[in-house]
Symmetry: C2
Subunit: 390 residues, 2 copies
């Protein structure tokens, strides 16, 4: 039986990035860069106006300047400004060669002879001109390896003209659901049956973690059926999650079936509640988690062990748990680490009712797991405890 810390460490030692793939920038948000990105261009790539106005030479600012030309945004002509003249320019458009300032149109009076600048001394060299490379120079690193891409970075990368970036691949995940008592939602229950919810909750949680390649199998509570499902799932997966059948009981075949299928046992049993019978193993680079059958145990073990593994595989950092003050004293029994459904708000966390592992109604209110260390039994009000936000 491992402690929670030992179990976390073992999972951490066996989860490693799958490697880089080329991903379209358009759909790269949520991925982590597996290589730095260098800018192929300077931004802007040309002297660019940041105003609608007139380009001129500062030395001519006191003169009436005939308007020689007009360069709207998108104009690709490279125009030379004639001395003592001006060129009409626009926000985002090019600044003609020879000009060293832009005067905004609101500061100008238009006469028959040309434009005249009011308060010409306010026009100085560089006014309203974005110099080439003012945001980034061609060849500069735009984003570092390990960056978790966000939507606004998609703007940034697209603005550099990039269509693809190298990111850590996401794992394929398989679910094997065991339990003869389980019935699919939408069908009537007979006496003794319960609705199967783990595949739905896990698939939704995996989707939130960016993992959309999720396949699933059902297995009857026999060794042969369990082995068969595991064998099929292992053919096409990076991470295998099993639910139920992981205790040491007459109808619990998951551990034996995994071993028979060549899975190396890394641990079985963690000093925690819920989720004590958790099993973890691997076959080659494939990770195998045997999660208990109770939905709350499944969700707790998912967040404590599976999600950090998925983060490591996809190059993400697992956030360190937040510390929160317990709203009230709490006493727990036994030398296990306990994960409680909690409601966190503004630094304070409340233990919710309905903590048994079969009870899900607390999820109507819960937004975190509260971790209570195995070595402590009595927790005082306002004591700081780690919380794992959903």
């Amino acid at each position: 039986m491992k402690t929670v810390q030992e179990a976390r460490q073992i999972v951490g030692e066996h989860a490693s990035p799958l490697g880089g793939i080329l991903q379209p920038v358009a759909t790269a948000a949520g991925y982590v860069l597996s290589a730095p990105v260098y800018s192929p261009v300077s931004v802007p790539g040309f002297p660019q106006s940041s105003m609608d106005g007139y380009a001129l030479r500062v030395q001519d600012r006191g003169l009436v300047l005939p308007v020689q030309d007009e360069l709207p945004a998108g104009s690709t002509r490279q125009v030379q400004l004639i001395a003592q003249q001006a060129i009409r320019v626009f926000t985002g458009g090019p600044v003609p060669e020879g000009a060293d300032a832009i005067v905004q149109k609101e500061w100008v009076v238009i006469t028959n002879e040309g434009i005249r600048i009011q308060e010409p001394e306010r026009v100085v060299a560089g006014t309203h001109i974005r110099m080439p490379g003012a945001d980034i120079q061609a060849g500069d690193m735009a984003l570092a390896e390990g960056t978790l891409l966000q939507a606004y970075m998609v703007s940034y990368l697209s603005g550099l003209g990039l269509t693809h970036v190298e990111v850590y691949s996401r794992p394929k995940v398989s679910l094997v659901i065991t339990g003869n008592e389980l019935v699919q939602p939408g069908h009537p229950l007979q006496y003794g049956q319960v609705y199967e919810s783990n595949s739905y909750g896990l698939t939704a949680a995996l989707y939130q973690a960016g993992i959309e390649q999720v396949q699933q199998w059902r297995a009857e509570d026999t060794l042969a059926a369990t082995e068969q499902a595991i064998a099929a799932a292992l053919k096409q997966t990076d991470v295998l999650l099993l639910t139920g059948g992981v205790s040491v009981g007459e109808y619990d075949y998951v551990v034996q079936a995994c071993l028979n299928q060549g899975v190396e046992l890394l641990f079985h049993g963690v000093k925690q509640r819920p989720g004590k019978p958790l099993f973890f193993g691997k076959k080659g680079r494939q990770l195998v988690f045997g999660l208990p059958g109770n939905p709350a145990s499944v969700l707790s073990c998912y967040q404590q062990y599976v999600l950090p593994a998925l983060h490591q595989i996809t190059g993400r950092k697992t956030p360190t748990p937040q510390m929160a003050k317990l709203a009230h004293a709490y006493e727990k029994k036994g030398s296990l680490t306990v994960f409680l459904k909690g409601h966190y708000d503004a630094g304070v966390v409340t233990v919710l009712p309905a903590q048994a592992s079969f009870q899900l109604s607390a999820f109507a209110m819960a937004n975190c797991w509260i971790e209570l260390d195995e070595s402590v039994d009595c927790f005082a009000a306002l004591q700081l405890v780690p919380v794992h936000l959903f």
Copy 2:
């Protein structure tokens, strides 16, 4: 010209939920319930064992009890316990009628005559029995209207046997991208051209907000082309986002084109930087945002105005901005509200370099917008300011 507060309020007054749709529970995470959910069943639906062990009558706990039957999880037989006998039961399986306690198998010695309980006085009425409805009773409210569904709630709802829930519909969003200077990433740039990034960044941001129905149009910088794109987009959208062409310049056709297409102007111009020329209007129930062309302005206006509107439409609450301490003093010019790219960490926020609205390189580091109120020019180090986390 509106203040930021006025602009927010006007947007808020015109954004309202689209109405409820039936969504499969499996893909309902991220949606908001438009009606309360009542449980169609009690959970558990039958007296359920929480242990592998033996069901018995407490009054028989001191006797040697022959094992009458076995009820594995998934057994649908309703069995009557015979007095002075025991029935083998399993975690998650039914408890036979007449039994009022479960003794776990580890506490039992098996003899030829039956089982004998060690320390029988520890077995009391109700031990290891989950009573019907102990988690939720049929007819009880499982989740309230307005609940933002999370992955773990998908487990909870599936466990109630539900396949569909009523949620607020998500809007269809259309983008109209204007700007003759724009070139698609992946193509070479000519002098005076820049890469189009707004459609990519907005689509990624919309996707993160759960909005996958995004269509886009390009419009040349002419009134006719802009009107045409707007007309096409308005035919099939709930929210229309335009980028560029929203200032009052010779090539800025967005506002006029919107008016010509029957869009009612609600405001044009907000006392803010970036994003001063922001336009907001509506046509019937359709909302129209004219965003400036600079990518940073687009992203800032998206977060300040568009995202809250999308939240209201989809029944979500917009999180109140967090307050953070400025890492250093900061001075701003002009009586505008300024949104700065910032990096927030543990209660402290740092203003990043490269704040001009055409500069995106700060997004390599930024994780929030810092809001500096229009009425204040000089901000002291450690002064509290609102931050809008990405």
